[in-house]
């Protein structure tokens, strides 16, 4: 695939558990096309979230190479990875991971501040208005509902206009109606900024909205298909 924004070649991930080494991912080869949405599905423990971590440089592969925007993430140190994410990636988690001591506005402004934007707070405010939280900017995470917290997390991920958006079961902790709104927002944001979206999900409906779906089982890619074919 010539226009791959993310590539994995023969990637293995082994982690040390209490009972010894555990093989998480085995021989993964994968390309993610620029501007497309990729769904990662599979049963629990199949390695979906770990694969997402490798794509985001949040975890180091035991062997093989992970390339993003033409750069070898495996060769970067922790600080270089942090700068790379700051400039190129947004990440959304199932558990939101908002910083509890910061308001919604401050949470969203933080990556912009870290990137050196002088107008971090203005942009953060605009981003929150975009996700419908213009009136809740000064609320702390504990004062927001689950759906609202995830919207803050989405705004935080999208604010630096990342080229790659990674989402790990972003609706896993939300009820049906709220989930729909978040999913709509996630796809709207990635479309609006032409970002590449990699989405880990258990939901068939959500996977169906992606351009391509990769099914994992026991740490290996079992199947790669278009969304229609995966259905």
């Amino acid at each position: 695939m010539s226009d791959a924004i993310l590539s994995l070649r023969d990637v293995r991930l082994v982690l040390m558990g209490n009972a010894g080494p555990v093989n998480i991912l085995n021989g993964i080869d994968l390309d993610v096309e620029r501007g497309k949405a990729l769904g990662l599905v599979g049963p629990s423990g199949s390695g979906k979230s770990s694969l997402l971590m490798l794509l985001g440089g949040l975890e180091k592969a035991t062997s093989g190479t992970v390339t993003a925007l033409g750069q070898n993430l495996s060769a970067m140190n922790e600080d270089a990875l942090a700068r790379f994410r700051r400039d190129n990636m947004g990440v959304v988690f199932q558990s939101f991971h908002l910083i509890p001591t910061m308001t919604a506005l401050e949470n969203v402004a933080t990556p912009l501040e870290l990137a050196g934007h002088r107008d971090a707070f203005e942009r953060a405010r605009a981003e929150l208005e975009l996700v419908g939280l213009g009136t809740r900017v000064d609320h702390y995470p504990a004062q927001l509902s689950g759906g609202e917290q995830q919207r803050v997390a989405l705004a935080r991920a999208a604010a630096p206009r990342p080229k790659i958006l990674l989402a790990d079961e972003p609706t896993g902790n939300l009820d049906g109606e709220t989930s729909d709104a978040i999913v709509k927002l996630l796809f709207d944001l990635s479309d609006r900024f032409a970002a590449t979206l990699v989405l880990v999900t258990h939901s068939r409906e959500l996977a169906a909205r992606c351009d391509r779906v990769v099914r994992l089982k026991d740490g290996r890619i079992e199947e790669t298909a278009t969304a229609e074919a995966a259905q």
């Binding site: 971590m53 949040l58 922790e78 942090a82 994410r85 700051r86 990556p111 501040e113 990137a115």
Partner: protein
């Protein structure tokens, strides 16, 4: 990286409030407050001594002569340079009431004054009256005033009469306060009389041991330093000693400085314990921040940004802790000033003193840095993947090498600062070495306890004994509190154990062993013509087992090989004041010569001296060296003919200097004697000798020992208070560790209840793990205390060491009980909570 961003994020993070930092703050505050308080009291006393220098000394300056009055030349110098000169004489004597078999006697320190005393300050008396009025003779009997202790010992009331030598005195008042008492340490209670009233007492005969003091009021424009230099150049070789108001009580100031310096070092042990608590609190805090740190890294924060975010937060909190500690340390002595002042026999200027606060602050800053740099630097090792899985335990132990070097630099700075502030750097070095060694032993002990517990939990021995297995499993497990509990409590207990061992051994040596080998009495001022009668009475008594007697003079070593002694030997005790000197013709029985030879009988050549071997070696003396000793204002230059062993440990007669008889026997002198007598015959012997020889002074050795033991007790008590501050800090750390583990215990209890454990079983398991940790800390403390006790007794006191089991056992029990108490207190909530709520919250 922008420092500003790190500062902003740090500020936002601190919005969570200070509740996570209660232990952190308490540890810093307690440690710093203890050091600041000790330093503030020390400075208050030093300042007080300086402010009241003239009053304490009793004049602007003073010349002291041993054993004689000032010569004509010295009197002339005083007349020229001082506007007023007051002459005082001090000596020991026996105050006697009653006659014959009904007489009672007590040792007293007599101060014979002139009409100008005191030049500064006033003597407070009860009943209230002026000194002049109190000392005016009544009905032809001279008056005296005395300390309450003497009056109580002799059953005297105001108006009663008593004798000094052969002179009767009427007690006209009790001394409440002498303005110059702080500079006058004495074993015996005071009696003050007019010098002229002693003429008929027979007490100040030739060779009597007395000191004369000439206190001066100087003109306002006098240059004290120039006067001192001038007086020293003229009279130092004649045995004159100079003191002036710039340092009115040098001995006391040095004592206060040394004790305070030692207490500050004990306080440093407290700060080290606090440091462990600080470190544990920072680690716990940062563990709760793992997800935040991982999130920030996910958002693009570099390791250095993370470091600064948390360094600034902890730095800010440290400043709060240090400031509060300083405020508390400065306020406590200030608030309790009246109480402390009432206990102190010294003037003290209680106000805010900045130098001890700066000292405490520098200790606080360095300790906070030492114990927080490492855990903060490790935040750089937290990887963003921590958001996805519990990777807390996978954070690399070692931070980047630059932080390891920084931590080592801070440790070196802390040691450097401690040595710079210490008045006795060697003591500081040993104490700090002891603290570090104890900490290393405690870390190793904690590792051993964890390892053994882990192994024990896995063996078949504990199968079926669920509570035991759980307890050992928890102590050896990954979230174990073993390290911080054993380290913090152990260090506090170690300090206390060391004090216990040293105190018990010193008391044992002085109070229990010494009286068995020491004489019952020292008799001084036995005139040569009284010696025969004295020996007849004592040696003829069946209850007296031994009498030793030698002639005694006092002299000051002024020169060694023609050079001023202080230049050659510095501040060695042998040359720092006047020393007893004796003479002998034949070699005394049991004398052990180590080098050289004793002089021949009837030797009549140039003076020879036999010098104490150990002291001679410390002074760097060798055979043939010339020693100049000033006796009664006359220089005697003697050649060292031999060195001999002198054992001071039996409290018997021991002289550093023994000269050949012809060198000294024509000088006016008296004799001293030691008498070993059965306790039940002491009273009669004392009465008989007192009645026959009223001028002879008896010093009961047991009384002197009691006073030394009492003084030791006070020092041990002061040290124990500082050690208890250490222990309290250790207790705070312990509570912190117990509180930090409460959630884990809650979860554990919920699971155990779910699988059928009773509350009793769970409580037993929790109690057991606390007791294991407390006992381990206590056991290490015993070994550390014994090692410190052995070191001090063997190398400092040069005596034997005996393990003292009672304080040791109390320490282990105390440690186990304290840990048990804290463990049980924090087990209460986990036991009371319903499992469903706890388990649901974890999902």
């Amino acid at each position: 990286m922008s420092f500003g961003i790190a500062a902003r994020i740090a500020r936002r993070e601190l919005r969570g409030g200070l509740k996570d930092f209660r232990i952190f703050l308490a540890c810093l505050i307690l440690g710093i407050a203890a050091i600041a308080a000790v330093g503030s009291v020390r400075t208050a006393i030093e300042q007080g001594l300086r402010n009241e220098g003239a009053t304490i000394l009793g004049g602007d300056a003073e010349m002291e002569f041993v054993y004689r009055y000032a010569s004509d030349a010295e009197q002339a110098w005083l007349k020229i340079n001082a506007s007023t000169v007051s002459e005082i004489v001090k000596f020991r004597s026996m105050a006697v009431t009653g006659k014959g078999d009904n007489s009672q006697r007590a040792l007293t320190e007599v101060k014979a004054i002139d009409s100008l005393y005191p030049i500064y300050g006033t003597v407070s008396l009860s009943p209230d009256m002026t000194l002049a009025a109190a000392l005016t003779p009544q009905d032809g009997i001279p008056s005296a005033i005395a300390g309450r202790v003497l009056a109580d010992r002799l059953g005297l009331s105001v108006g009663d009469t008593f004798r000094l030598g052969s002179q009767d005195f009427r007690l006209s008042a009790l001394v409440i306060k002498e303005p110059d008492s702080a500079a006058d340490f004495s074993f015996a209670p005071r009696t003050i009389v007019r010098a002229q009233d002693l003429q008929a007492s027979g007490l100040l005969g030739p060779g009597t041991l007395f000191d004369s003091y000439y206190r001066m009021r100087l003109p306002p424009d006098a240059d004290i330093k120039a006067l001192q230099d001038n007086a020293n150049s003229l009279f130092r070789d004649t045995g004159m000693r100079w003191r002036d108001k710039r340092n009115g009580a040098p001995g006391i100031e040095r004592f206060v400085e040394r004790i305070a310096s030692f207490l500050v070092l004990v306080g440093l042990a407290g700060l080290a314990v606090g440091g462990i608590g600080v470190s544990a609190a920072v680690r716990t805090y940062l563990e709760t921040k793992t997800s935040v740190i991982a999130t920030l890294k996910t958002l693009g924060a570099e390791g250095r940004t993370i470091f600064w975010i948390y360094f600034l937060q902890i730095g800010f909190l440290s400043l709060i802790g240090i400031t509060l500690g300083l405020v508390l340390g400065a306020a406590v002595p200030f608030l309790f000033a009246p109480l402390i002042a009432a206990q102190l026999p010294l003037p003290a200027d209680f106000s805010i003193h900045w130098s001890p606060l700066a000292e405490a602050a520098s200790y606080g800053i360095l300790t906070a840095l030492l114990f927080t740099l490492w855990p903060i630097a490790r935040t750089e090792n937290i990887r963003p993947a921590a958001l996805f899985r519990d990777s807390v335990n996978r954070i690399a132990f070692w931070p980047r090498p630059v932080y390891v070097l920084l931590t080592a630099g801070v440790l070196a700075a802390l040691i450097g600062v401690s040595l710079a502030y210490a008045s006795v750097p060697k003591l500081a070095m040993w104490t700090l070495g002891g603290i570090v060694a104890a900490m290393v032993v405690l870390v190793l002990a904690a590792m051993a306890v964890k390892y053994l517990s882990r192994r024990l939990a896995k063996t078949g021995l504990l199968r079926g004994k669920t509570a035991l297995r759980l307890a050992f499993g928890a102590v050896g497990g990954p979230q174990s509190e073993a390290s911080s509990v054993i380290l913090s409590l152990g260090l506090g207990l170690s300090v206390l154990a060391a004090i216990g061992q040293i105190d018990a051994n010193l008391r044992g040596a002085i109070a229990d062993e010494l009286p068995d080998i020491a004489p019952s009495f020292f008799f001084v001022d036995i005139q040569p013509d009284q010696l025969e009668g004295f020996l007849a009475r004592t040696q003829g008594d069946a209850d007296v087992s031994r009498v030793d007697t030698v002639p005694m003079l006092r002299g000051v070593i002024t020169r060694i090989n023609g050079r001023p002694a202080r230049e050659v030997a510095g501040d060695h005790w042998v040359i720092s004041g006047d020393r007893g000197v004796t003479y002998a013709d034949a070699i005394p029985a049991k004398t052990q010569i180590t080098k050289g030879e004793w002089w021949p009988l009837d030797y009549n050549g140039p003076p020879l001296v036999s010098f104490a071997e150990e002291e001679g070696s410390e002074l760097g003396l060798k055979l043939g060296d010339m020693i100049t000793v000033n006796i009664l204002g006359r220089d005697i230059e003697a050649k060292i003919a031999s060195f001999r062993i002198v054992d001071f440990s039996t409290a018997g007669i021991g002289f550093v200097l023994t000269m050949n008889a012809n060198a000294l026997k024509s000088a006016p002198h008296t004799n001293i004697a030691t008498v070993y007598v059965n306790e039940n015959a002491e009273g009669k012997l004392l009465r008989d000798l007192g009645n026959t020889f009223p001028n002879i002074t008896a010093i009961r050795v047991k009384d002197a020992i009691d006073q030394v033991v009492e003084a030791l007790g006070s020092i041990a008590a002061a040290t124990s208070y500082a050690a208890i501050a250490t222990l309290i800090t250790g207790f705070v750390v312990l509570i912190g560790a117990a509180a930090a583990g409460e959630r884990a215990r809650e979860y554990e209890a919920a699971i155990l209840k779910t699988v059928g454990a009773t509350r009793g079983q769970i409580l037993f398991s929790f109690a057991l793990r606390s007791a294991i940790l407390g006992a381990a800390a206590g056991l290490v403390a015993i070994f550390a205390g014994a090692a410190a006790g052995w070191g001090v007794m063997r190398f400092v006191m040069e005596t034997t060491y005996h393990f003292e089991p009672i304080s040791a056992i109390s320490i282990v029990l105390g440690g186990a009980l304290v840990t048990l108490g804290a463990g049980l207190y924090f087990a209460w909530r986990p036991l009371a909570a319903r499992p469903a709520g706890i388990l649901r919250a974890r999902e």
